[in-house]
Structures are given as structure tokens and as C-alpha cells.
């Protein structure tokens, strides 16, 4: 991918990585819109972060673990679990063949 501005080719690549479809017009539009966004966020380089550690989350909570026990309140029946799928077969989800 190119550094700085995003070309049409970059957008096509990003769309593929993200499993998205984009029309010809969208590709052109996104390339200029996202380049504009990148241009803006580059102002971050003006902030001095020498010696600063990154923060991936804001809470000071420690990791929580729970016992390895079944929580019956959260169990869905098989029927409930597949009830929202658009395609099912013999009580199972249907996915596209990948091989």
C-alpha cells in the first residue's frame, strides 16, 4: 500500500481485506475521503510522546477470570441458536464451500 494518500488500488485492496464490495464510484470517493482523513490525523506527529507508554484501555481493573462452570442462564437451545440464520440445514448453519 502507498504511504500518504490512498490510491484506488489501495481502496480495492482494503476492501478485499475487509471482505467488502465497493462500486467504481465508491472506490474513487473513498480514496479521496480517506486520504483526507489520513492527512488530518497526521497532526498527531506534533504531539511529543517521548517516553510515554501507550494506553490500550482506560480502566485500572485487573484481569478477571471466572470458574470453569456452565452458566445455565446463558445457554441457548440449538433451535434458538440457529433461529436467526438465513440458511440452515439439518439444524446447522450453512457456510460457503472454501475448498
Amino acid at each position: 500500500m502507498s504511504k500518504g494518500a490512498l490510491t484506488k488500488k489501495d481502496i480495492e485492496h482494503l476492501a478485499k481485506l475487509s471482505s467488502l464490495q465497493t462500486s467504481e464510484k465508491e472506490t474513487v470517493d473513498y480514496s479521496s475521503q480517506l486520504s483526507e482523513s489520513l492527512e488530518y490525523i497526521r497532526n498527531l506527529s506534533a504531539v511529543d510522546t517521548k517516553g510515554v507508554r501507550e494506553h490500550y484501555y482506560v480502566s485500572d481493573e485487573e484481569n478477571k477470570v471466572r470458574g470453569d462452570k456452565v452458566d445455565t442462564k446463558r445457554i441457548l437451545s440449538k433451535k434458538e441458536a440457529i433461529s436467526q440464520a438465513r440458511k440452515t440445514k439439518k439444524g446447522q448453519f450453512v457456510v460457503k464451500r472454501i475448498l
Binding site: L6, S18, Y40
Partner: protein, 462 residues
């Protein structure tokens, strides 16, 4: 009793005194929905079932509430305002919904939002924009625009919204209601359709500060299903409103840069009022919002790109070809900044500046009890006007994003109207897990001013 415009607290009191029943109330609001929602488009789904009668012993006594449509509700369609989730019927409730139901709420319906909560006007909703009750040629703000407009037009006495970076406070400001965003981790994200997980936070849109305190007390608290919630005890927010306290209020000059002059004067008048009442007002310096916008954009897009990866159309919902333009833009920008070779320059750098912003707040909160500023740089824009602003959402939310980035609580309250008759909002930010302080100041303001009548139901919807 005259129901029109009554607060949640007043309605509960009336039910307890047997002047009203919750069934009557549900029917009252259903009538208003039939009459006014065609024009406003606040709701995506309205539950037309017979109201359940609720015990008047419960905290909410069966009062009707609305839920933003990115919070899942068992057996009630939940779409996040996206075609991808059209017809999706969740098999379980979000924790905040469970808590409201346990407290005796009747769920009236699901409110409109920007698709996936991506936006600041509800115009990216796949089911049409909501209109601002104060001027239906204008947007309500967003993303919790449906909730804000429904509360302002009194299609519901209060509603839940969600915030990632301003999505409760900004529409509250544009619709002239109270908008409360709790501390990150104070209210559970379990069952919230994730946007950016390190910011997302359910909150409340209400007609009084006391109502906001009441709802917060119900939805707050640790949840074993969301490991980022805190188990810190939940104070009695309603009780702690009362009692005269004086505070030191910090005012960041940079948060007034480029803000409309009528908004600046309304906020300054409120600050003068606070000084008159014995509070200390002090100028402070924080990281400039122009950098905050960049931090927010980078981190939020990155988290969006991974969160929306789960929508594959296999287990539920439709295929990814149904994503709208804004979601696509966000996913792709996130994928870019997380990509090998760019990660350090954008994502890691943004997380470092996030630390700078957080340290900034830590330092300031040693000197002041809370921070006050305008909620938004302008009042409600016209439908379609967002196209004039290349960075529309970020610009409109620029004053809300700092608190979101640091996980701090914030509240927006109405402080008047501009010459166009549009509500002006002022926000108060306090320390993490210190919602009581900002609620106390907001309550004092409400007691003094009655919000200048901004909460009166607009003429057209009476």
C-alpha cells in the same frame, strides 16, 4: 395529573400515589407515537403489545422507556439501524435491559440511530433520519438521535442511549434534554452491539438531572458478563444530588475555540451563575481538541474494523454487501491504520497520545473537581448540511471525545436557546467513577434555572 412533559420521577410518584397506572401511561405514549412519529421518525420498532402491569413496589413502577436500537432486546427486533441486521430478533437481553426490566420498566420501543452508531446526526441510518423536534428541517444529532428526539418531543419520558465519542451528550445538546454518559466500566456493555470497545458506554437521555441519576443507579454496577465493568459499589445517585456543595470548576479555554458566539455566551452566563453561588471558576489548559479528534479517529476506526468483522451473514443478519458507506469507510480506514508498516505511525502513536490526554486529566483533577465547556461547537444543523463538513462527526463531537478517550463521565444539560430557537448544551466532566459530583452541579443548575424552559414540549407536539 397533566402527563405532558412530566419527568420519570414525577410519573413514578403519581403511580405510587395511584393517580395513574402504568397501563394508562403506555397507552398515552402509544397515542402520541401514532400522532407524531411519522414526522419525527424516532423509532425503528415500536412494541404494540398490551402493557404488562407492573408492581408499584418496583423502582420504575412500570413506566415506559425506550431503548436505542443498538442495545439488544430479547424477542424485539434489533437492527443497529443497519440493513445488515434487519429482521434480527435477539435471543437474549443486554444487561442494561435486564436491569431496567427487573426494576419494572415497560419497554416501549427501539429508537433510531446512525447505522452502527457511526455518525452524529442519524442521517446514516438505513431507515431514514430522525428529525429534531425543535425544527423538523434539522437533525437531532447522533448517534442516539432517536432517543434524544423521543425524549424532547415526549414520545417517551426517558430513554437509553450509548456513547462512544459524544453519541449521548451531542444529541442531548441538540434536542435540549439531559444526556448522561457514565464512566467507562460503570455500565455494562454486554448485549451492546459493539462499535469501539474501549470507549462504548451505555447512558441515559432524560428530562431532569434526577431522572438521569435514577436511571444510572439502575443500570450501573459490575456485570460478570462484561469483564471491563467495575465492581466498585454503586452510590445512591438520587440521594446524593441534594445537599449544597461548592466546587472548583475548571474551564479549558481551548474548548471555546471556533464555538458559535451564542453558545459561548450561554455557557459563560452559566459559569457566572456558578460563581455567584459560591463555586470557584478557574481557567485550565488541556490537550487541544484538534489532537483529540485524531486520537479518537484512529483508535475508533481500528476497533470498528475488528468489531464489524463478525458480521458475516452466517449465524444471523445479512451478508456484508448490505453495509452502508460510512461503515465501509470506517472499516477500511481501521484496516489501514492497523496494517503492518502503518501500525506504529498511526495506531501506536494514537494510543500514546491517548496516554498524554489521560495524564492531562489526572493532573487537572488535582486542581479542580470538574470541567465545564460547551457540549457542541454549533446548534442543530439542517438535514444534509453535514456534507459541508468534511470531518462532520469528529467536528461535532470534538468537545465530547476527550472524556470518552479517557473513559471519564460527562453530562450535557440545556442552558438556553439560540436566536433560531435551537437548544444549547453545556457539558460537565468529572473524575472517573465520580458521577455524583457532576450530577450535583447539574442539579444545582436545574434548581436555579429550570433549564430556562428548554424542556417544554415544543408547541407542535403538545
Amino acid at each position: 395529573m397533566n402527563i405532558l412533559g412530566a419527568t420519570l420521577t414525577q410519573l413514578i410518584k403519581a403511580i405510587k400515589a395511584r393517580e395513574l397506572s402504568s397501563e394508562e401511561l403506555v397507552r398515552y405514549f402509544a397515542k402520541r407515537y401514532d400522532k407524531f412519529d411519522k414526522e419525527l421518525n424516532c423509532f425503528i420498532t415500536y412494541c404494540k403489545q398490551e402493557p404488562k402491569s407492573q408492581s408499584s413496589k418496583e423502582a420504575l413502577c412500570g413506566v415506559p422507556l425506550a431503548i436505542k436500537d443498538n442495545i439488544i432486546t430479547k424477542d424485539i427486533e434489533t437492527t443497529a439501524a443497519s440493513e445488515v441486521l434487519k429482521d434480527y430478533i435477539p435471543p437474549y437481553d443486554a444487561t442494561v435491559v435486564t436491569r431496567l426490566k427487573d426494576a419494572g420498566a415497560n419497554i416501549l420501543g427501539k429508537t433510531n440511530l446512525d447505522a452502527w452508531a457511526h455518525g452524529s446526526s442519524t442521517e446514516t441510518s438505513d431507515f431514514g433520519s430522525t428529525k429534531n423536534p425543535h425544527d423538523s428541517n434539522r437533525v437531532p444529532g447522533g448517534s442516539s438521535g432517536g432517543s434524544a428526539a423521543a425524549v424532547a418531543s415526549y414520545l417517551v419520558p426517558a430513554a437509553l442511549g450509548t456513547e462512544t465519542g459524544g453519541s449521548v451528550r451531542q444529541p442531548a445538546s441538540w434536542c435540549g434534554v439531559v444526556g448522561l454518559k457514565p464512566t467507562y466500566g460503570r455500565s455494562s456493555r454486554y448485549g451492546l452491539i459493539a462499535m469501539a470497545s474501549s470507549f462504548d458506554c451505555p447512558g441515559a437521555l432524560t428530562r431532569s438531572v434526577e431522572d438521569a441519576a435514577l436511571l444510572l443507579a439502575i443500570i450501573a454496577g459490575g456485570d460478570p458478563y462484561d469483564a471491563t465493568t467495575s465492581n466498585k459499589s454503586v452510590p445512591n445517585y438520587v440521594k446524593s444530588l441534594k445537599g449544597k456543595k461548592t466546587f472548583t470548576i475548571g474551564v479549558p479555554d481551548d474548548y471555546f475555540d471556533g464555538v458559535d458566539s451564542e453558545i459561548v455566551s450561554a455557557v459563560n452566563e452559566s459559569l457566572a451563575l456558578f460563581e455567584n453561588k459560591g463555586h470557584k471558576v478557574k481557567k485550565i489548559k488541556l490537550t487541544h481538541p484538534k489532537y483529540v479528534i485524531s486520537v479518537y479517529t484512529v483508535i475508533q476506526r481500528a476497533e470498528v474494523s475488528s468489531n464489524l468483522a463478525r458480521f458475516d451473514g452466517i449465524r444471523y443478519g445479512q451478508s456484508r454487501s448490505h453495509f452502508g458507506e460510512e461503515a465501509k469507510r470506517r472499516i477500511m480506514l481501521g484496516a489501514y491504520t492497523l496494517a503492518h508498516g502503518y501500525y506504529d505511525e498511526y495506531y501506536k502513536k494514537a494510543q500514546k497520545v491517548r496516554s498524554v490526554i489521560m495524564h492531562d486529566f489526572d493532573r487537572i483533577f488535582k486542581e479542580v473537581d470538574m470541567i465545564v465547556s460547551p457540549t457542541t461547537p454549533v446548534t442543530a444543523l439542517k438535514l444534509g448540511e453535514y456534507k459541508k463538513y468534511p470531518f462532520f462527526g469528529e467536528l461535532m463531537d470534538s468537545l465530547n471525545e476527550p472524556a470518552s478517550i479517557a473513559g471519564l463521565p460527562g453530562i450535557s444539560i440545556p442552558v438556553g436557546k439560540d436566536k433560531k430557537g435551537l437548544p444549547i448544551g453545556m457539558q460537565i466532566i468529572s473524575r472517573a467513577f465520580d458521577e455524583e459530583t457532576m450530577l450535583s452541579l447539574a442539579y444545582q443548575y436545574e434548581q436555579e434555572t429550570g433549564f430556562g424552559g428548554v424542556l417544554q414540549v415544543p408547541e407542535k407536539f403538545r
